[in-house]
C-alpha cells in the first residue's frame, strides 16, 4: 500500500471517528426509543422517484406505519428534511441540542438501517453503539499500554529475578481463559452497575487482559536499548537510572507503542464486541456493537433479518483502516527502533 493510500485511509478513519463522536446529531432518534409498531422493520432508503414514476427534488421515503397486528404497510411519501428538530441529546456530556442531520417534519419515522425486535432505530443504535465500542477500545488500549510500558520497562531495564518474575506473571496472564473467568466474575459483581460503570468495567477488563503482551514487547525493546552505545556512555558519565529511562530508554519504545496502539484498538473493539455478545458488556437498553450483534445469536434473526448484520459489516472497514494506519506508523516510527 503506498503512502498516499495510507494517508487517505487515515483521513477516512479520522472522519469516521468524528462521525461517531457526535452520534446525537447524525442519529435521527434516541437509540433507546422503542417504536413498538415497527419491530424488525427493514431498511428504507431515501428515494427520488416515487412509485408512480415521478421524480422529486427532495429525497423522500415511504414512511413506516403499523396496523393493529404490527405489520408494516406502505403509506404516502414523506419528504426528508435536513437539520430538523427532534429528540434531545447531549454533546460531550454537557451541551444539549435537538438538531439532527435529517428527519421528517410530520413525525413519520425514517429507518435507514431498519429496526430491531423492539422497533428501535438501528442507525441510531449503531452510531451510539460504535461510540461506546470505539472509545472502550481506545481507553483500554491506553490502559494496556500504560501498564505494559511500566512493567516492561522495569523488567527489561533491571532484569534479574524480578524481571524474570514479571515475565512469568505476564505469561500467566496470557494463558488465562479470560472469557470464562469474566463470566464467573460477573456473577459476583454488584447488580447495580450503571451505564458508566459498565463502560468502565469493559475498559478496565480489556486493559488488564492486554497488558502482558505489551509488557513483553516493551521489555524486549528496553533490553536492546539499555545496551546501546549512547546509553552505556551516559551511564558511564554517571547518569542516574531515572535519567537514562526518561531520556534514552523509554523514548525508544514510543514507536513500538504507537504501532501497538493502532493494532490494539481494533482488537479491543472486537473484544468489546465479544464481551457484550456474551452479556458482559453494556446492558439493555444501551447499545454497543457487541450487544447489537448479540441478536445474531438467535437462529431466526440470523436467517430472517439481514440488516442486523450491518454492525458486523461496519467493523470490517474500521479494522482494515486501523490496520493500514498501523502499517504506516510502523513504517514511519517502528523500524527506526527495532
Amino acid at each position: 500500500m503506498n503512502a498516499k493510500i495510507k494517508i487517505g485511509v487515515a483521513i477516512a478513519l479520522l472522519g469516521c471517528h468524528l462521525f461517531i463522536l457526535f452520534p446525537g446529531f447524525f442519529a435521527p432518534y434516541n437509540p433507546i426509543e422503542q417504536n413498538r409498531d415497527f419491530p424488525y422493520r427493514p431498511p428504507e432508503l431515501p428515494r427520488l422517484r416515487d412509485a408512480a414514476g415521478n421524480w422529486h427534488v427532495r429525497p423522500f421515503i415511504y414512511a413506516a406505519t403499523g396496523d393493529d397486528a404490527g405489520t408494516p404497510a406502505r403509506q404516502a411519501a414523506v419528504p426528508i428534511h435536513f437539520f430538523v428538530s427532534g429528540a434531545r441529546y447531549q454533546i460531550a456530556g454537557s451541551l444539549h441540542s435537538r438538531y439532527h442531520l435529517f428527519g421528517t417534519e410530520n413525525g413519520a419515522r425514517v429507518f435507514l438501517l431498519g429496526t430491531d425486535e423492539l422497533g428501535r432505530d438501528q442507525l441510531s443504535r449503531l452510531l451510539y453503539g460504535a461510540r461506546i465500542s470505539l472509545f472502550a477500545g481506545i481507553l483500554a488500549t491506553a490502559l494496556s499500554l500504560a501498564i505494559g510500558l511500566a512493567v516492561g520497562t522495569f523488567a527489561g531495564y533491571y532484569g534479574g529475578v524480578a524481571g524474570a518474575a514479571v515475565v512469568r506473571v505476564a505469561d500467566f496472564f496470557i494463558a488465562l481463559p479470560w472469557i470464562y473467568l469474566l463470566l464467573a466474575v460477573r456473577a459476583f459483581l454488584p447488580l447495580r452497575l450503571g451505564a458508566g460503570w459498565s463502560f468502565a468495567v469493559i475498559v478496565i477488563v480489556l486493559g488488564f487482559i492486554g497488558w502482558a503482551r505489551q509488557a513483553r514487547i516493551v521489555r524486549s525493546v528496553v533490553l536492546a536499548a539499555r545496551e546501546r552505545g549512547f546509553v552505556r556512555a551516559a551511564r558511564g558519565f554517571g547518569a542516574s537510572d531515572f535519567y537514562l529511562l526518561r531520556r534514552h530508554v523509554v523514548p525508544q519504545t514510543f514507536g513500538v507503542l504507537l504501532t501497538q496502539a493502532t493494532i490494539l484498538i481494533p482488537q479491543y473493539v472486537i473484544a468489546e464486541t465479544t464481551l457484550s455478545f456474551f452479556g458482559l458488556g453494556m446492558s439493555e437498553p444501551h447499545a454497543s456493537i457487541g450487544n447489537l450483534l448479540s441478536a445474531l445469536q438467535h437462529y431466526d434473526v440470523l436467517v430472517s433479518y439481514w440488516w442486523m448484520y450491518v454492525p458486523a459489516v461496519v467493523l470490517v472497514p474500521l479494522c482494515l483502516g486501523y490496520s493500514a494506519v498501523a502499517s504506516a506508523v510502523h513504517d514511519r516510527f517502528g523500524k527506526a527502533y527495532l
Binding site: 423492539l118 456473577a187 437462529y299
Partner: protein, 589 residues
C-alpha cells in the same frame, strides 16, 4: 401435609407434579372387548395407524439415569416414561385421569381408601408377568426415605405415607390418612417396577446404583410401550417396541405402532431447528415463537397448542433481610412491600406488547396465577385490567409517591422520603424472551418515572441470588406448573412453600391475605367435591390477583412441530407435550 410441586424455574423442567383431585365415589374403568382391554379416554380423532418406522426425537441433554424412581430431570423422564407404566394416568390432552395398568378403581365414601383392580395378563417388557406384588414393591421403594425419590413427598398425605395393601394378585388397596382433593391423580407417574429385577439390589441397599446410564438393556424392563435397546453415552438412546405392551387401538391392534424411538442429544434450541429442517430429527417440542414461524415455511406439521402451563412474572424481593448486609435492597423493600406500588407496576406494563413483540402473538397476557392452559381450574371471572398509566399514577400518589420531571423532560418518581425510585431487574441472560421482556418493562416503567436497570445474569447466578443470597431488587422469571391441578403450585403460593419466591422461608404468614391463602389451599387439598374445590381455588386466585405479590405477565403457547407424515401428532400442554401418546404415533404410508 407435605405437597410437592415440581416447578421448574426458567429452564422449565416440567417434572410432573401430581395432586389429588375430585375423589368421586366411583372411579373410572377400562372397557373389555374380545377378551382384551382397550385404552379408553382417547381423543375421538385418534386414527388407526400402521406399523413400523422409527421416530427421531431431539433431547436437549442426555438422561442422567434410567431409573424412574430417581429421575428428577425432564430429559431422563422423557426417555424413561416411554418404557414405564403407571396405575392411573393423566391424559395429557384432556387433563383428566384415565385407567392405565389399573383397570378400575373405587374410592371409599370418606375419600381415604382407594381400591385398584389391576388388568389381568400384564407383562413386563422382558415377558415376566406383573401383578399386585410388583405394585406393593414399587410403592415400598418410592416411599423408602433412604431411596430419596423426588416423588416421595407426593405419596405422603397429611404427614403420613400412603399405606399399601395387597388384597389379591390383582387387587391393591391404598389408605390415605385424610381425603385427598386431587384423588387418583396421585397414581400418575408412579412407575410400576419389576420386582424380579430390582428387589435383590434394593434389599442389598444398592437401589441408587441400579438402572443408571450404564445399565444393560437386558437389566431393564417396564410396562410402557417401548423398551431400552441401546444407550450410547453422549450420542443417543434407542428404544424399541415392547411386544408385551398391554394396550390396543380401537380396532384391537396391539400398540405401539412405531418400531423404534431414537433420542438424539442436541444441546441448543437453534441447533434442534437446524437439524429438524435438514430432516435429521422428526419432532420439535417447546419451540419458541420465532423458530415456530420459520418452520412454518418448510411444510412441517405445526401445532400451536395454546397457552401452556408456564407463566412468567416480575417478582419483587420481599424476603426478610434481617441479619443480611443488604442495606440498599432493604431500603427499596419499603416500596416493594406496598400493594399500591406493585399494582401500579402491574397497570403500567403493556402485556399486549409483550405478547406481540416477544412472542409474535403466540402467548396469552396474564393477570392471575392460573394460565388458560389449565382449563379446569382457571377463574374466568378474574379481572384483566387494561394498561392505564393514569390509574397507576393515582395508586402511587395515594401511597405517598411523587412524580416530577427531570431536566431532560423525562418523569422521575420519588418516594415519601424524596428518594428517586430506581431498582434493578435481574433475569436470565440465556433466555432471549425474558431479556426482551425486561427491556419492554423497563421502558413501560420509565413512563411512571421508575428507573429500572436490566441485569441479565447467568441462570445459576440468578437462582443463587433469588434463593440463597436474596441480593436482588426484582427479577423476571418463569414457572411451569407440573400438573393441571391446583396442588401443583402449592409450593409457590403457600407462605412456607419452597418456591414462595418473593418471600422465602416465612415461619408464619407475613400478611393476613397470605394467611387466608394458606387456609384455602389446605382446604382445597382435602376437599373431594370438585365444585366446592373450584370455589375455594377461585377465591385463592382472586386474593393473589388483588394483592399482586408478583406481577403476572404472559403465558407462552405450547408450540411443536413434526414432519408431515407423522400420524396422531397431537401435542398437549402437559409434560411431555409431544410424546405423551407415543404409543399411537405412526408414520403414514
Amino acid at each position: 401435609m407435605r405437597k410437592r410441586s415440581f416447578l421448574a424455574l426458567g429452564l422449565l423442567l416440567f417434572a410432573r407434579s401430581v395432586a389429588p383431585n375430585s375423589a368421586n365415589v366411583e372411579g373410572g374403568a377400562g372397557r373389555s372387548e374380545s377378551g382384551r382391554l382397550i385404552a379408553d379416554a382417547r381423543p375421538a380423532d385418534d386414527t388407526i395407524g400402521t406399523y413400523g418406522g422409527r421416530l427421531v426425537v431431539p433431547l436437549r441433554s442426555e438422561p442422567k439415569t434410567l431409573n424412574p424412581v430417581l429421575a428428577a430431570d425432564n430429559y431422563s423422564r422423557d426417555v424413561i416414561w416411554r418404557t414405564m407404566g403407571d396405575l392411573i394416568h393423566i391424559n395429557r390432552f384432556t387433563q383428566q385421569t384415565e385407567s392405565a395398568l389399573a383397570l378400575s378403581w373405587q374410592v371409599s365414601r370418606d375419600g381415604r381408601r382407594y381400591t385398584l383392580q389391576l388388568r389381568p395378563d400384564l407383562k413386563f417388557s422382558d415377558g415376566h408377568a406383573a401383578d399386585a406384588d410388583d405394585v406393593i414393591f414399587s410403592f415400598e421403594v418410592y416411599l423408602d426415605a433412604k431411596v430419596n425419590s423426588p416423588q416421595r413427598d407426593l405419596l405422603v398425605v397429611g404427614g403420613k405415607p400412603i399405606e399399601v395393601r395387597k388384597i389379591d394378585a390383582h387387587t391393591v388397596e391404598f389408605d390415605l390418612s385424610q381425603p385427598y382433593g386431587a384423588g387418583e391423580r396421585i397414581f400418575d407417574s408412579i412407575a410400576i417396577l419389576p420386582r424380579h429385577l430390582l428387589e435383590p439390589g434394593y434389599r442389598a441397599g444398592k437401589f441408587s446404583e441400579m438402572w443408571g446410564v450404564n445399565a444393560r438393556p437386558i437389566q431393564i424392563a417396564g410396562l410402557g410401550p417401548f423398551k431400552l435397546k441401546e444407550f450410547v453415552l453422549g450420542q443417543r438412546v434407542v428404544l424399541e417396541k415392547n411386544p408385551y405392551y398391554w394396550k390396543q387401538d380401537r380396532s384391537g391392534n396391539t400398540l405401539p405402532y412405531l418400531s423404534e424411538i431414537i433420542f438424539v442429544f442436541i444441546p441448543s434450541a437453534d441447533s434442534e431447528v437446524l437439524r429438524f429442517q435438514s430432516g435429521d430429527v422428526d419432532l420439535e417440542t417447546r419451540l419458541n415463537a420465532q423458530n415456530f414461524s420459520l418452520l412454518g415455511e418448510k411444510g412441517a406439521q405445526l401445532v400451536d397448542g395454546g397457552s401452556s402451563l408456564e407463566y412468567s412474572f416480575l417478582c419483587f424481593n420481599q424476603n426478610d433481610l434481617r441479619g443480611r448486609s443488604l442495606p440498599e435492597v432493604s431500603q427499596r423493600q419499603e416500596w416493594f412491600a406496598q400493594k399500591n406500588f406493585r399494582q401500579a407496576v402491574s397497570l403500567a406494563i403493556d402485556r399486549q406488547a409483550l405478547v406481540r413483540l416477544v412472542y409474535k402473538n403466540r402467548a396469552e397476557a396474564l393477570w392471575g396465577n392460573v394460565t388458560p392452559g389449565i382449563k379446569l381450574w382457571r377463574d374466568a371471572a378474574l379481572p384483566a385490567p387494561a394498561r392505564s398509566l393514569d390509574k397507576a399514577r393515582e395508586l402511587l400518589r395515594a401511597a405517598g409517591f411523587r412524580i416530577s420531571t427531570s431536566s431532560d423532560g423525562t418523569p422521575v418518581l420519588y418516594d415519601s422520603h424524596n428518594q428517586p425510585v430506581n431498582f434493578t431487574l435481574a433475569t436470565s441472560s440465556s433466555n432471549a424472551e425474558r431479556v426482551k421482556m425486561a427491556a419492554l418493562i423497563q421502558a413501560d416503567l420509565q413512563e411512571l418515572g421508575m428507573r429500572v436497570q436490566v441485569v441479565p445474569l447467568e441462570f445459576r447466578a440468578l437462582l443463587d441470588r433469588v434463593f440463597q443470597t436474596y441480593d436482588y431488587d426484582a427479577c423476571l422469571m418463569s414457572l411451569a406448573s407440573g400438573d393441571a391441578d391446583p396442588t401443583a403450585d402449592i409450593n409457590v403460593w403457600r407462605s412456607n412453600g419452597a418456591q414462595h419466591l418473593w418471600h422465602l422461608g416465612e415461619s408464619k404468614p407475613a400478611s393476613t391475605w397470605e394467611s387466608e391463602v394458606d387456609v384455602l389451599l389446605d382446604q382445597q387439598l382435602i376437599t373431594t367435591d370438585t365444585a366446592e374445590r373450584r370455589r375455594v381455588y377461585n377465591r385463592v386466585q382472586e386474593i393473589i390477583a388483588e394483592n399482586a405479590p408478583v406481577v403476572f405477565l404472559v403465558s407462552p403457547h405450547m408450540l411443536a412441530a413434526a414432519k408431515p407424515g407423522l400420524g396422531n401428532f397431537r401435542p398437549a400442554v402437559m409434560e411431555p407435550p409431544t410424546l405423551w401418546n407415543a404409543d399411537v404415533l405412526y408414520w403414514k404410508k
